[in-house]
């Protein structure tokens, strides 16, 4: 059984509109999956629903994390269990520094894993790890003392999302268009960072529009997502084919990409 298992998953908005229309997908540690699809096909909605955003309700099928139905868990519980979402549009938290936010998040997760007992990360250990991770992702040190995403450039936000992934060490990470907004060097640094974070303990689902990031990340599986469904699956070669031919072949008759 895969760590993240989606069976005929359906997601609707509060007004009842169905956005995700039956998705089957398995993601395990050690694997990188790419999810590619046209604008508005429902990729972010799928990601939000997995993470537990209240506006995206699971209305059919199931999403299992480590065998447990996530629909019964709040976003905090899912994160504590090891699910992570790198946001397409990360939110600003004025007045809260990156450092203090990260420490609180790590401590919340550690507390949950210690059965509800406080188990704060020793500060020297935290500092060392944070500085190493920032160095690795080429994030300037002063960003750690800035308020989370407050006035960050698009690229800074995306890097800090991956910094969070590096610090929180999830078991499955969903990355929603982490590549958009990154310059060429940043793309390489971030993509290599993600590649290194994936291993025996961690798997990833990478949502993207572009082949570029996949050159660095090297997915094991590529899924084509159109109108709320996975319509084609294959290996890395499928991404190349999409890059050349677009989504036209996968769209319903008469529709335009």
């Amino acid at each position: 059984m895969a760590l993240l298992e989606l069976n005929d998953l359906r997601v609707s908005l509060e007004d009842g509109t169905e956005i995700v229309k039956g998705v089957d997908l398995d993601v395990s540690p050690g694997e990188i999956h790419a999810l590619m699809g046209p604008n508005g096909s429902g990729k972010s909605s799928l990601a939000y629903a997995l993470m537990g955003h209240p506006a995206y309700e699971i209305t059919g099928g199931e999403a299992l994390f480590d065998g447990q139905d996530v629909s019964e868990m709040g976003a905090d519980k899912r994160a504590q269990a090891g699910l992570f979402l790198a946001f397409q549009y990360p939110h600003a938290i004025p007045g809260v520094t990156v450092t203090s936010f990260l420490r609180s998040a790590i401590n919340a997760i550690r507390k949950a894993r210690a059965g509800g007992e406080d188990d704060p990360v020793p500060i020297p250990e935290f500092r060392k790890e944070l500085l190493e991770a920032m160095e690795h992702l080429k994030i300037p040190r002063e960003l750690a003392q800035r308020y989370l995403n407050d006035g960050f450039s698009g690229g800074e936000k995306k890097r800090v999302e991956i910094l969070q992934m590096a610090m929180l060490k999830p078991r499955i990470a969903v990355l929603d268009e982490t590549d958009s907004g990154l310059d060429i060097d940043a793309l390489r640094i971030v993509a290599n960072g993600v590649r290194e974070l994936v291993g025996p303990e961690t798997g990833a689902l990478v949502i993207t529009h572009y082949q570029r990031i996949l050159n660095h990340i090297k997915p094991d599986f590529v899924h084509v997502f159109v109108d709320g469904r996975i319509v084609e699956e294959g290996g890395p070669e499928l991404a190349h084919k999409l890059e050349e031919e677009g989504y036209e072949a996968f769209l319903p008759e008469g529709a335009e990409a």
Binding site: D76, A79, F87, H91, A92, I93, V96, F101, A105, A112
Partner: protein, 419 residues
């Protein structure tokens, strides 16, 4: 002093309750003990404190910094300063830090020159009451040019049921001197309503600077009606940092009268109104001299049907040319039942001035909460984080230990609610 008290009592009885601000009709003036003496004499060292008082302090969890600086602490326990010892180096510098009663006894001339001059006994009903029945509080004098490096701290608390606390503080910062006074207030829970009505008068002489920091967390049945006013002379700076949590009703507007050219004043105010609480807080800046400047920053939070209002006065007198003032008030409303209001009173009699006023009202966004929860924080922790961030421009001005304390208080306030 006896005449002063009697006259004040007349003023108190003659004045009606203020009709603005909050609901004061719940105060039963006949049912408040005006003076309770907890121990017979003042303790002069930590060891001399009676064990039950020490225990209460331990339970309050006085911050480490507090303990470290205990040698400089004046603490008020049931209306009487029981513990008061001046740091030796302060003494050597000629700094006076005493309880008000001793101050009056030992430095009568100095006290008489200023006592009741900044806030006249008939200033308002509650200042009159305080003037009539005051006991305890702090008296501080910093001689010219002396810069007191560590904050002088005092812990105030009310302990007996139905007890009004009417402390009276007078701070004189002489020319070119500096002092930071920190007042922390926490109170246990009582069975009936309690009144706290303090008067704080501060004189900041030319070129001097004074900062007065308050973190107040009264229990939910306390009426907290405090009059605080400072006068700042040429090129002096006065800063009020005022964080208000708890109480049933708080009405408090620290004021700065800018009397000398180039004087500068700042008020940083936080008000957190929870269930059944009404916090009416803000600040006043009165510009009487040319080229004076003031900044009032207010952050209010309301939650669980609580009310937090900003009430401020900005006044520029004729002749105060080139004066500048900026008022920023931000409100954060945590749910539909809660309420926030802004009452900015502005009176400008001089045309050559630069005045700015900004106000924002916001709600905690679902998106922000979801973002934080997706990192493993519970809903209460996530909201507490957003609130801490909201007040950060003010908490960053607090001594580190108090900033930590403040965030802990916010967390406690947030925890009760969720679900």
């Amino acid at each position: 002093m006896r005449k002063f008290r009697l006259k004040s009592l007349e003023y108190f009885q003659a004045r009606p309750l203020p009709a603005w601000g909050g609901d004061l009709t719940g105060i039963d003036f006949d049912n408040i003990f005006y003076y309770i003496r907890p121990t017979e004499k003042q303790a002069s060292s930590w060891e001399d404190l009676p064990p039950d008082i020490k225990n209460t302090w331990d339970k309050l969890g006085i911050p480490e910094a507090e303990k470290k600086y205990l040698a400089g602490v004046g603490a008020q326990y049931e209306s009487e300063v029981v513990y008061h010892k001046l740091k030796e180096d302060l003494e050597a510098q000629g700094v006076l830090f005493l309880d008000m009663d001793s101050g009056l006894r030992e430095h009568e001339e100095l006290v008489k020159e200023y006592f009741g001059k900044i806030i006249p006994q008939n200033d308002n009903k509650f200042a009159a009451l305080n003037s009539a029945v005051w006991s305890g509080g702090s008296f501080i004098y910093v001689p010219p040019g002396v810069k007191v490096e560590m904050p002088l701290q005092a812990y105030f608390r009310i302990n007996a049921e139905n007890m009004g606390q009417f402390e009276r503080t007078l701070i004189i910062v002489d020319e070119g001197a500096y002092v930071h006074y920190v007042e922390g207030c926490t109170a246990p829970v009582y069975s009936s309503d309690s009144l706290h009505s303090a008067v704080v008068e501060i004189i900041v002489k030319p070129g001097a600077r004074c900062r007065y920091t308050t973190i107040q967390n009264w229990s939910n049945n306390v009426y907290n009606l405090v009059t605080k006013r400072a006068v700042a002379y040429e090129n002096a700076t006065m800063e009020w940092v005022d964080a208000n949590l708890g109480s049933k009703l708080t009405m408090k507007y620290p004021a700065i009268w800018l009397m000398g050219e180039g004087a500068h004043g700042e008020v940083l105010s936080i008000a957190f109104g929870g269930k059944d609480q009404h916090l009416d807080a803000g600040g006043k800046a009165v510009h009487y001299a040319p080229h004076t400047s003031s900044i009032i920053t207010s952050k209010s939070i309301s939650k669980d049907g609580g009310r937090a209002s900003y009430r401020g006065l900005l006044e520029v007198a004729k002749g105060a040319v080139g004066s500048k003032s900026k008022v920023v008030c931000d409100a954060l409303i945590l749910d539909e039942d809660s309420r926030s209001d802004t009452y900015p009173y502005i009176r400008i009699d001089e045309s050559n001035v630069d005045i700015g006023h900004e106000a924002t009202v916001s709600k905690i966004g679902e998106e922000q909460l979801f973002y934080l929860m997706s990192r493993g924080l519970s809903e209460a922790e996530a909201s507490a984080m957003v609130v801490s961030g909201f007040v950060e421009p003010i908490t960053k001005e607090l001594p580190l230990e108090y900033a930590v304390e403040m965030n802990r208080l916010i967390q406690l306030q947030m925890e009760g609610s969720v679900g």
